[in-house]
Amino acid sequence: MRFGVVIFPGTWSDCDFHYVIGEVLHQPVKYVWHRDTDLGDLDCLILPGGFSYGDYLRAGAIAGRSPVVEALPDFVARGGYVLGSCNGFQILCEAGMLPGALMRNECLQYRCQSTHLFVENAETPFTRGLRPGQVLKMPISHGEGKYYADPETLRTLKARNRIVFRYCTEAGDVTKDANPNGSLENIAGIVNEGGTVLGLMPHPERAAETAMGGTDGLLLFHSLVGSLVEDGSVLKR
């Protein structure tokens, strides 16, 4: 499985994703510059965390209009997978690849802490190796992670089972106390209609080694790599 990790000016989780994919998962991985639009040789594109363009204007707003992001609809239409974490999720929302918006945390402060995620949908290529109701531990690090969608969009997300992760307690209870940023209904991650574009605020790459405090983040990659193996190869080039 060939991964690409996008670098926007201001991205900082690029090296971390590159390291985990290359050194921990031993999958082929390369960096993709934000001006590149030729994604032909990739199976999965990662939009990492950071402050693309300083997050000036709104988090992800400028990157959401960059050449590489404008090439995403074609990439997805050809069967490519996209995983946006943290700033990547914000960019996907700004680009209209995922519905809703990520607003300033309810506490009005940046939050870097460990969170627990309730797996709501275990049928996406990113979560296929998980059980519904499974609890994953992954850290967050953001100032603007409060997910919001209008009631109509929220209904659609629920009806189509597109809410993938919700913040929960260690025991798996989706409670207000377990919500670190005031996200609507504790939403931490969602997918597009086809299930091939995942946006989540937590950092799976920071939970990919025991030394870093846990390996639950790897489960997303295992699911993804497994999905590809099952399908033969995904990209219908």
């Binding site: 000016p9 201001g10 402050f51 940046y110 870097c112 802490q113 790459e205 920071r206 870093m212």
Partner: protein, 741 residues
Amino acid sequence: MAASDPKVTLELALAHGLTAEEYDRIIRILGREPTYTELGLFSALWSEHCAYKHSKVFLRLLPTKAPHVLQGPGENAGIVDLGDGWALVLKMESHNHPSFIEPFQGAATGVGGILRDIFTMGARPIATLDSLRFGDPEDPKTRYLIGGVVSGISWYGNCFGVPNVGGEVAFAPEYQGNPLVNVMCVGLVRRDRIFRARAEGVGNPVFYVGAKTGRDGIHGATMASAVFEEGAEERRPTVQVGDPFTEKLLLEACLEAMAGGAVVGIQDMGAAGLACCSSEMPSRAGTGMEVELSRVPRRETGMTPYEIMLSESQERMLLVVAQGREEEVRTIFAKWELDAVEIGRVTGDGLLRVRMDGQLVAEVAVRALTEEAPVYEKPTARPGWLAALHAFDPLSLPEPADYEAALLRLLAAPTIASKQWVYRQYDQQVGINTLVLPGSDAGVLRIKGTSKAIAVTTDSNARHVFLDPYQGAALAVAEAARNLACSGARPLAVTDCLNFGSPERPEILWQFAEAIRGISEACRALEIPVVSGNVSFYNETEGEAILPTPVIGMAGLLEDAGWRTTQWFKSAGDRIALIGPDAVSLGGSEYLAILDRRLAGRPAPLDLRVERDVQAACRAAIEAGLVSSAHDAAEGGLAVALAEASVSGPEAVGAEVELPSLGRHDLTLFGEGPSRIVVSVPPRAQRHFESLMGECQVPWRFIGTVGDERLTLKVGGSVLVSLSLDQIAHAWRTGFDRYVG
């Protein structure tokens, strides 16, 4: 000379912070009156901030050499060898004055400046720490300052993408008008890829790279070299405005240009901006430099040569590029959407020549601005106030009626209580190296591709320094090293940030001189070189000086990352041991400060030989895999250390402890003394631990057992404290938040 420049007079020189003697000296050097631009250059380069003119004679005492030191003081940052081809770059700096005037931007640009000091050496910053001091926590102004400073640090560091892995926040009324914001940064560089701030190679082009120049921060260095009077807020325009996004681009572009080999020398345009770079870089290399200011990218119109030279606009660097490789540098910076403009050349005549539109506006020997800056040996005097303070006997106060209440009050004191409110606003993990997050004795980071890790910490107990600057400063070194020992690391190097009042007062300069002596002595005894640092004088407002606060930043090495150890108890059944001597005192203690609002008495003596042995014993036990936790007993004494070990980890675990009686119970529980470490030892390792301590020849004893839902402290068989973990955790977790929440 620019037409609009004011005429240079003695009055104008005085207004620039120069003395009449210094002004005469400038005229002698130049053989004429300086131009307005030259006056600006001298006033900035000869300021305390740049020239260390009051501190230089004392700083010479510091031990700076060791076989593993690759770069000592005198560059943008110090460097030590880590083995495996890696080197660690470290530096700490203050941004006290700007942070008081404008806490958010002041603290943010403090982070920006220290990051540039690290990556200008060719290193990628891998961690920051911050050491903060504030005044009365009850005062609304303090809440405003903390909020601003923490969010400024958070904003800049998070956006740039560097983890914050530790530091300290302490409170004392003496910081009310002058808080301290010290930021430390460490970075990793291949030892054969180190860059220095030297303008080598006559004829090499000089490039200005990074953000554009504006009028912000003009005379920041001069401001940092003066005491505050009423109306300090009016100096807000001297505070720079940060842009961490540009800094991130600058980092990537600089490292890319360095990797290609086009860069000969590089320096951050920090304090005193272009003036500082264009004189210090050639001065270090024995060359000269000429610059044409009309080429400097500007974001404001009508800037004078004086303003361009002295601007402290952030996120800028000066590069000396290998002749013929100019295009390479332009291409890299264009890729990162940054300006890179050739503004001058390295010359061989030792002069700094500044032109504006071809017209000469300054011509000065670079050495006159740098090495030949005045150096003073001003008088020092032992403060008269010390005798009365030392005469106070804390044991003349009555014992507390309720020891449980006293312990809870201490745990809830904002200096001791959990700082989670602060560090959860900082990214602690970006880079995926952080093995031990904030909240233990030191932050620990792995070095990818090796089995090694580094540990980093900052420390200073200003109350002890105030009461005894020599021993207090030595203690700061000892404590920092002890923090590292508790994490499993061997100390490698010190970077210091010396915060004091006005050196023009003999009592303050005495504090400084004594503190330097203490640091030197401790560093020699513990064999830790000082490789970089910063002096911040004039931390006074309206005649009131801060507590003398020499902050020690220290980095250490763990040969095996697996040795890393945290401060909290892990498993019921582990035996608790106290390594170290019994010598403690309530003089200058947190107990006295919190329960009696008093700063007096004499701190317990520090024996550096015992300190060294205790640390070695702790490390040996860790390396042999014999301890589950190790925690330094510092502020609040043994009772607080035990309570912290019980509740600071992911899961609270109680303990039952029989403390060795040291006389009065308040002394036993809350007395503070150096060289004391609380470790927990799994039962399987008990025998081995006992024999190892015997071999190390250090005082030690088992004092209790981990387990239970309570912390029980007994002395002489009678229970003094029996508190539920919930009670302890509540006090410790909410103590800080109640002032800031």
